[in-house]
Each structure stands twice: as C-alpha cells, then as structure tokens.
C-alpha cells in the first residue's frame, strides 16, 4: 500500500487465497478498501517451480478468472475517484455493553468472540473496581499496545481494559500486577502465525509465593488458581485488546495450539534449582519479580539422564527447527543430574548444546530460517554468513547459546524434563523493540 499511496505506483498485491478475508480486512483498516489484489491457491510454501507456474497460468481462486487476466485488469482498469481517494471511518468502541440479563450477556460475549468459548466472569463495574485495587496505577493510564502479528495494526489499551479481561478470566486482584506486566510486554498470547504457535509464561521472584503460584508438583498443569487465572487472563486480554483473534481474519494458525488455553503459565522452582533463576540471567536481582513470555510450538520429553544421555539429548534437539529456539523445562532432579556431569551452570549446559547438537548445513537452512535472518546473511553478519556459505554436509550448531532457554520446575516426583520448541521472540520482531522479553512485575504493583 505504501507503493500506491506514498510513491504513486499502481501495485497489485498477490496473496494466497485462504487469506482473502484477512487481506480485505487489512486494506479496509488501512484506509484503502479498493487496494489492488490478486490471489493464487494455497499453499505457496513447498510448491515446486512447475506448480508455481501452474498458479501463474491458472485461475485466481477468489476472483474466478485467470490470474494474469486479473493482474492486468487490476493495473489497467480505471478506478472511480471516490475509490482512488481511499476511505476513513470511525470505529471507536463503546465503554459499556448492555443486555437483557446475564444469559443474554454471556451469549453476546461469546458471539463477539470475547471469550475462549468457556464461561467467563462478567466484568461488572464493581468487579473491575475490585480488580483495580491490585495495582497503584490509575485506571486510565495507558499500558501498551498489541497486534495479532507483525504487519497488522496495533491497538492500545489502559489499565482498566486489562482489569476487565482479568475479571473475565477469573483472576484475583493479587494476580493483577503479573497480568499488567504481561499486557505491557508487547507480546501477545494470540499470535496469528500460520505455524500455530502458543505461549509459555514464566514467573520469577518473590511474587510467586505472595500470590501462591505453583512451581512444584503439577506446575504446568491445571492445579493452581494463580497459574490458571494468569495464563487465561493473558490469552483473553491478548485477543480482546489487540483487535481480535478470529480464524481467517486475525488468526491464521492452520491447526491452532492447545497451549493457548493457558499459555503454559507457571513459576520457576527457584528454591530447588541448583542454578540462577531465569530472570537473574536477564539482569534482575533475585528479590525482584519478573515475567517472561515465550512463543512455543510443541515439546518432546524424557526421564532422567540415563546412560546414553548425550545421544538422547542430541536426538531430541536436532529434530527441532533451528530458527525458533528451544526451552528446556527440567525437574530439579534432572537439573542436579546435569550438575553431576559438570554442567553446573545454565550457561555451561547451553554451551554444551551449542557445541554438541549439530545438523548438516543443507538441513539447517531447509526451513523458514533464511526468512528470519535474511538481512543478516546478506550483510555478512556472523555466524550466519559462515553457516550459509558452509558446504551442504558440514555440521552446523542448531542453536546459538542465546537461543537456548533453561528453566527449572516440578516437584521431584520424577526426573522428567521437556524440551519445548520455542523461546522469547527475537528482538527485531518485538513490538517493544530494544526491550528485553523479561519484564518487571514490580513496576505494576
């Protein structure tokens, strides 16, 4: 749209057809409802050159005519003056919603997709006022901005809006500083990626005990009010404060992600861990409270470091995608087992993974990895330039140490550990550019 409106170049945007609704919504909310568009079939990724030529020579599935005819028509058909001008329109949202009784209100909330399709607590003024007692910040103080994904518009919100969503999720006022910190992070619990990611929310510091979070037995499961309510709050506030999470419009995940119900919210078991807490690694003091959002796709798991633990770890991690980072969630038993093997700091374990888990160059780049760091490769930034120019069979570290996250949680009933695909979002893609993914909870008390 910039090429059209700012540079005066007639431009056709080509998209895959499953995103037609999303595209039309996007151009409308950017003031150019008649933006020139043509569509090709899905999928584009992984389609052979022959298949792509068939797309060019075949039909535009949305407009129902040959793709090239549509492209030519879009560039040469006269556009009426009122469409050339674009369109502005008011879409402010009312502060209150009214209905004839609770049953109708619940139905309205579900119909408008404000919920996760489970019952919510209706955000009456009284309940929201009570939630606001959980912070010293004024209700009309702006907290931040969110969007479903890069390239889409940001919506803004204040403390009261976050409180409304926290009430809906069943949170208590003592949970509110954590929820505000999450809302301020710029990270969303409803990321619109075709890859269907979910989230992990990790809480560190004294607040874990103050509000009764679980870092022991069942820490990642549905066994604790604070863990459950904070995670659900993050999901609901994300979808409602960012402009929605509607499949085909503001959500594109092909399969969706079950992690999204709770955003894997838990506290690190700092007391049982032989290592420094996660937030201390990122500049916080141990007696400060902080929260970190990661983007997560799935996990593999194992029990204890057995005889062939090195081969096992290599097999588990080498099957993950290089571009997305990894997060190890270790029961304290397993953390101690690593220490017994000389990996007595998180950094040493991350370095072991970097040095010992490697895959051939050709496989390293056989994914969206190049999309993510194309600029760095072209600019000759290391190590990417070296990895790109390596021979196809040369073994490349799957992860740099900065992309290996290590967390301790669990109640020592079993030497269980999970390795999740995913990590905090790369700095260059973050809404809050230049800011750490680990944010202060204390700032929101």
């Amino acid at each position: 749209m910039d090429l059209e409106s700012r540079y005066g170049v007639p431009t056709v945007g080509v998209h895959v057809h499953v995103f037609a609704h999303l595209v039309r919504n996007t151009v409308r909310t950017n003031g150019m409802p008649s933006a020139r568009q043509a569509f090709v079939p899905t999928p584009l990724m992984n389609t052979s050159p022959t298949g792509l030529r068939e797309y060019v020579e075949g039909n535009d599935p949305i407009h129902g005519r040959p793709f090239m005819a549509e492209v030519f028509d879009q560039l040469t058909r006269a556009v009426p003056n009122d469409e050339l001008r674009g369109e502005d329109w008011d879409r402010s949202t009312p502060r209150y919603i009214e209905a004839d009784g609770e049953e109708e209100m619940h139905a309205l909330f579900q119909e408008r997709r404000y919920t996760d399709f489970l019952p919510i607590v209706l955000p009456t003024e009284e309940r929201v006022e009570r939630m606001l007692t959980g912070t010293s910040h004024a209700p009309d103080e702006m907290v931040g901005k969110l969007r479903p994904t890069i390239g889409m518009e940001h919506w803004h919100f204040d403390v009261e809006k976050v409180a409304v969503n926290a009430v809906m999720a069943g949170a208590a006022p003592e949970h509110f500083p954590v929820i505000l910190a999450l809302a301020s992070s710029g990270d969303t619990g409803r990321q619109s990626s075709m890859s269907s990611m979910g989230n992990m929310v990790l809480v560190n510091g004294p607040i874990r005990h103050e509000i009764g979070m679980n870092s022991g037995i069942g820490a990642l499961g549905p066994y604790n009010h604070a863990n459950s309510a904070i995670g659900r709050s993050f999901g609901l506030l994300s979808q409602n404060l960012q402009g929605g999470s509607v499949p085909g419009e503001t959500y594109a995940g092909s399969q969706g992600c079950n992690f999204s119900y709770n955003c894997i919210t838990f506290a690190e078991n700092e007391e049982a861990s032989p290592w420094e807490p996660y937030h201390v690694q990122y500049g916080y003091e141990q007696d400060q409270s902080a929260v970190t959002v990661s983007y997560i796709w799935g996990n593999v798991w194992a029990e204890y470091l057995r005889t062939y633990w090195e081969e096992k770890l290599q097999a588990m991690i080498s099957g993950l995608e290089p571009g997305m980072g990894c997060t190890l969630v270790l029961d304290p038993i397993v953390a101690r087992e690593f220490c017994e093997r000389g990996l007595d700091t998180k950094q040493k374990l991350a370095e072991w993974i970097h040095e010992n888990v490697r895959i051939p160059q050709r496989r390293f780049w056989d994914h969206v990895m190049l999309n993510l760091i194309h600029e760095e490769v072209e600019a000759g930034v290391e190590p990417w330039a070296t990895y790109w120019n390596a021979p196809p069979d040369e073994l490349i570290p799957v992860y740099e140490t900065s992309r290996v996250n290590i967390v301790v949680a669990g109640g020592e009933t079993n030497g269980h550990f999970s390795i999740f695909q995913g990590s905090p979002m790369r700095a260059k893609f973050r809404t809050n550019k230049g800011k750490n993914a680990t944010v202060s909870i204390d700032d929101w008390r």
Binding site: S5, H15, F19, D90
Partner: protein, 95 residues
C-alpha cells in the same frame, strides 16, 4: 428482565485514515514492471515463474525481479527506485 451493563473488553483501535491509490495505467505494453519478492518462503520462486511468463508471453513488457529488504519494515530505497524507474509493481506473495 433487568438490563445489565458491563465494561467492554476491547482495546482502542487506531483511527482509519484514507490512503489514496495511484491511477491505473492505460496499457502495460512498453512499460516497466517491478516484481517484488517480499521474502516469505517460496515467494522468490513464484516471482521467478512470473518473470518467466512475461518473457515468454508479453516480451513488450519489461519486468525485473527485486527483493524487499525485510518483509516486516518499509524499504524506502527500493520504493524510490521503483518510483523512479518503473511504471507499476506486482508484490508478493502474502502468505
């Protein structure tokens, strides 16, 4: 039944301001088209096929494939080049 009133959970959307479009061309014959690869997976190969189609079927239309530097941020240098040297553009593929 008693009416109830609750607070709206939605955030504050940005204002929508009109953005103008460029006028259409009368014809593409004799014109220069930039085929802009935005960098999503396989967009480069799609643009290569599009370029091939133009060379085979419409050789009077000049086409050049270029790469948007980073799909998530503006690329003013490329836009200025397209504005200076081109007549139209096809940009994609949004996936």
């Amino acid at each position: 039944m008693a009416r109830i009133k609750v607070l709206n959970p939605e955030g504050y959307p940005p204002k929508v301001s009109a953005r103008g479009m460029a006028p259409a061309l009368d014809t593409l014959d004799g014109k220069k088209l930039f085929l802009v690869d935005v960098g999503f997976a396989n967009s480069d190969n799609f643009m290569a096929q599009l370029h091939g189609w133009f060379e085979e079927h419409r050789p009077t239309i000049s086409t050049e494939v270029v790469r948007w530097r980073n799909q998530h941020i503006p690329d003013p240098e490329l836009c200025e080049r397209i504005q200076a040297d081109g007549d139209a553009a096809i940009i994609g593929v949004g996936t």
